[in-house]
């Protein structure tokens, strides 16, 4: 049963070519055999937008298609998220930046406001019922917190095992969460900025074509110091990003003192 090799060093070696693709990297080009997922098509309209509230910008970062992002928004600061390419789901989780056991709670958020959708004025509440952030600006009809995040595992249920190797939002949450000491048990039901999940009269529920457009924005005022995790959804099997993953822009501003929020 046991096979031993007399002289592995002298063994003639024949490898079979593995297909490769050339990718653009910050350093130039890289030839790689990794089956990386799609990014937006050439010529896709991109609108980078501006902060939704007046004030001094303290952070301004881009989230590449398929990538993850995290940052702390201090109490009183406003985070503007720009849907640069339109209908790009920004899967989002929030945590009390100082005690991450306190984190975003979809059921508390919905029950307190007696409505299934997030709109201007929605208070994004924690699992302790406290306000983490408030939606102070919103340029699409309604935002989703029912549809959850895609994952390698749930993709096998939705589409089949042939897509299990595709990148997913739960992968992004694990990657980004690990930078803050967060793991599997810290991933809870999330918000999906710019994603459309209607609940129809007969209870039918699902992700359908979005209502957003390039440059549409949402603005969130932090009520306490809030750690924000974002997965720029890489899903290529449903319309949560128009089947065309585009960037997001994250802008944190210190709003002007005389600024009156909508909410």
């Amino acid at each position: 049963m046991t096979t031993t090799i007399d002289n592995p060093v002298m063994r003639p070696v024949t490898t079979i070519p593995v297909p490769v693709t050339t990718y653009l990297t910050p350093d130039g080009q890289l030839v790689s055999s990794v089956p990386v997922g799609a990014s937006y098509a050439d010529g896709s309209p991109l609108e980078w937008g501006d902060p939704l509230v007046p004030g001094a910008v303290v952070l301004d970062e881009q989230v590449a298609p398929r990538a993850s992002w995290s940052g702390v928004v201090r109490a009183g600061q406003v985070l503007t998220i720009v849907d640069v390419g339109g209908n790009q789901s920004g899967d989002c989780l929030l945590y009390n930046a100082h005690h991450t056991d306190e984190r975003y709670s979809a059921p508390d958020t919905l029950a307190w406001q007696d409505n299934a959708y997030i709109r201007t004025g929605t208070v994004l509440r924690s699992n302790l019922g406290r306000a983490l952030m408030t939606v102070v600006g919103n340029e699409i009809d309604r935002q989703d917190t029912i549809g959850g995040a895609c994952s390698r595992e749930s993709n096998t249920l939705r589409y089949g095992h042939h897509v299990m190797y595709h990148h997913g939002c739960r992968e992004n949450f694990l990657t980004e969460g690990a930078k803050h000491g967060l793991g599997m048990r810290d991933i809870v039901s999330n918000i999906n900025w710019f994603m459309n999940v209607p609940v129809e009269e007969d209870g039918a529920l699902g992700i359908v074509d979005g209502m957003s457009a390039p440059g549409k924005r949402v603005a969130l005022r932090a009520e306490i110091d809030t750690l924000v995790l974002i997965s720029n959804c890489p899903q290529m099997n449903n319309p949560c990003n128009d089947f065309n993953p585009t960037p997001l822009r994250m802008i944190v501003s210190e709003p002007d003192v005389d600024y009156e929020a909508d909410a």
């Binding site: 070696v13 890289l30 055999s33 990794v34 937006y40 095992h161 359908v208 089947f243 065309n244």
Partner: protein, 284 residues
């Protein structure tokens, strides 16, 4: 891969139909369920005995909890795979692969047939039963994001050059384990040898079609990241698909005193004794 536009997803019913139309497809890298349907079942294995069958994509990872006594075989169909591997006692994952003991206790740096994968608790987590490659490594561990950024100019987990450690962190998370639970790993199918001056000589692959087969001496959490060896000298990020098959039959038992390898050395004998003692006490 270009974005796909031919979808009708304006209503929930249309979105459902669109999603369901994608079922039943196959890809080059996927798990096969049930495992008995694997198109790549090894010739000497009864497909009905398979408990895990999967082709791992280049730059991807897999993980599984295996019953004690399970045989698992890793195959490198192209000669370009590199199976960075970690094993944990599934019952008490603080017991995990200890690479230092794995090299030191058997008095042997290079992994091959008969080599035990030891935990830090004096027990054998898995034994390498067969090896047709002979090109493995227990010195260099797997790649980190910092290393890949240096080597390839990028290391994003979703990009063309993911780091092995970042894949391990995600695989570990799916078993309740955190970044601190990812210890040094071993890798199969790409070898290095220590030169006289201590430098690592790159021996690379032993060619297409080789395999290693292991037996789970305890219930195991197995994590595998399929990424290039950190000392792979090529400027390209090249790694081939990895095949994984695991199976269990009445004959596939953990190592017992009846097996020749139980007494292969005084050290390994005591390691097997410790393992059996633990299993007996736990009622395994």
């Amino acid at each position: 891969m270009a974005p796909v536009a031919d979808h009708s997803t304006d209503t929930v019913l249309n979105a459902r139909a669109d999603a369901r139309a994608q079922g039943g497809q196959v890809s080059d890298w996927m798990p096969y369920l049930p495992a008995s349907t694997s198109p790549f079942c090894p010739d000497d294995v009864d497909p009905e005995s398979l408990t895990w069958a999967e082709t791992v994509a280049p730059g991807s990872y897999t993980h599984k909890v295996l019953a004690r006594g399970t045989r698992f075989r890793l195959e490198d169909p192209t000669g370009e795979a590199c199976a960075h591997t970690l094993v944990y006692n599934a019952l008490e994952p603080t017991e995990r692969l200890n690479v230092a003991d794995t090299q030191k206790i058997p008095w042997q740096a290079y992994l091959g047939a008969g080599h035990p994968l030891l935990s830090g608790d004096g027990r054998v987590l898995a034994t390498i039963l067969t090896d047709t490659s002979g090109r493995h490594d227990a010195f260099c561990g797997t790649s980190t994001a910092a290393w890949n950024a240096l080597r390839y100019g990028t290391a994003l987990p979703e990009g063309p050059a993911p780091a092995g450690r970042d894949l391990f962190v995600k695989a570990a998370a799916k078993h309740g384990l955190g970044p601190a639970d990812v210890p040094p790993s071993v890798s199969f199918f790409q070898g290095v040898r220590v030169a006289e001056d201590g430098s690592f000589d790159w021996f690379g692959s032993s060619g297409a079609g080789t395999s290693v087969e292991l037996v789970a001496e305890l219930p195991l959490i197995v994590l595998i990241a399929n990424v290039p060896h950190p000392r792979d000298p090529r400027p390209e990020y090249i790694v081939g698909p990895l095949r994984v098959h695991a199976w269990r039959t009445p004959e596939t038992t953990p190592t017992t005193p009846a097996d020749e390898r139980f007494d292969a050395s005084p050290e390994v004998r005591r390691a097997y004794l410790n393992t059996l003692d633990y299993a007996e006490a736990r009622g395994l």
